[in-house]
Symmetry: none
């Protein structure tokens, strides 16, 4: 999934069309604010930011992305109409992964996107799972084994973490207590115990205001949504 921020509607649609016809999933936004909302829900594989934007410019968006924990390692391509050297330098020094000067050809555009994604993949390849989940204000980074609520880190115990990861891996899907016991506790026999309930309770507690994303489905099990 690629996120684009570009104010000019024609350019935006051209880029979207070009990438989609090359097989990429794309979402385009008019400004950084709108994109922020989407980032909370799902983190993309690549950002493409125009530098010249009304309101917050692309360099500033880049700066923010590099600070946030869940986006700081995601590649960014900067675009600009101003072919000035200074802009390039700024963007690259802030940690952009590539820089394309407008006007550019479609072929070059696609090619650069591919190059950046290939590099990004080449490197993160060793990271076994790279599971990165976000839902509402809750994010789960499986490599760091860290969970944040509204950007603030939350300390979870082993079982709590595994539980949240399981539920968040399929938002909306209900897991029975039996399934949860099998997946996390590794017991396949029928166990009459309140252990799962207990962990759901402490998990909700630690998630604070977002505790309500963990929902009870009476007579069935639990889900997050």
């Amino acid at each position: 999934m690629i996120y684009i921020v570009e104010d000019d509607i024609e350019v935006r649609e051209m880029e979207t069309y070009a990438l989609k016809s090359s097989g990429f999933d794309v979402m385009a936004f008019e400004c950084g604010k709108v994109m922020d909302e989407q980032v909370k829900t799902r983190v993309p594989d690549l950002f493409i930011l125009d530098i010249m934007l009304p309101g917050e410019d692309g360099l500033n968006i880049l700066k923010r992305l590099r600070v946030q924990e869940n986006t700081k390692d995601i590649p960014v391509i900067m675009l600009t109409a101003k072919g000035t050297e200074l802009d390039k330098v700024k963007g690259l020094d802030l940690g952009a992964d590539d820089y394309i000067a407008k006007p550019f050809g479609v072929l070059e555009f696609i090619s650069r996107v591919r190059a950046v994604l290939r590099r990004s993949e080449r490197n993160s390849s060793e990271s076994t799972e790279a599971l990165n989940l976000a839902l509402g204000g809750v994010t789960l980074d499986d490599q760091r084994r860290s969970v944040t609520v509204g950007g603030i880190a939350v300390e979870l115990t082993f079982k709590e973490y595994e539980l949240l990861k399981l539920l968040m891996s399929r938002p909306g899907t209900v897991f029975s207590r039996q399934q949860i016991l099998e997946k996390i506790w590794g017991v396949d026999f029928d166990m009459d115990t309140r252990t799962v309930d207990m962990h759901i309770k402490t998990l909700r507690q630690k998630l604070g205001v977002q505790g309500s994303i963990v929902q009870t489905v009476r007579n069935v099990g639990y889900k997050v949504q």
Copy 2:
């Protein structure tokens, strides 16, 4: 160390001078063949290849570098006087990491080199050399193999050092005892031992007040943060 292949002597010296005055080690070559000899002796951190060369062109050199085992993961920047889109596409699709069209400014040149090296470093963090890590009051200089706490040198044994280096190479990431045994002890079987715990203890001790950056993640392993 950066290797440059460029036939125009003026451009070659300009590039060399620019990079050297920014603190990089540079070696410049007139053609790919001469460089090959040097590559056998020492592999650089980055290649900068001109596309238009007498004899073998830059794209072909790139192709060869990408095939060879010892150079295939080393970043490459392509340079060209021909600003045609097709050249860019070819270079990027062959796996170049960046592309700079001549004429370019010195600032942009340096900046792109830095950007490519930073990316390369960010990811291949676990391997190679020139590892220089700092966290809190703890610094680790891998070239000197020295560690300081609050500016004061600390003597670590081999295993202690490797352990700290591994953990610091990815702050926040949790390493299981099994992973640690594999990476540092080279054992890939399941070993029931408290050796890792023991070294964690002595490491914490030697780090003194900063010992608390080495954190236990119960049921999982250890991390630094």
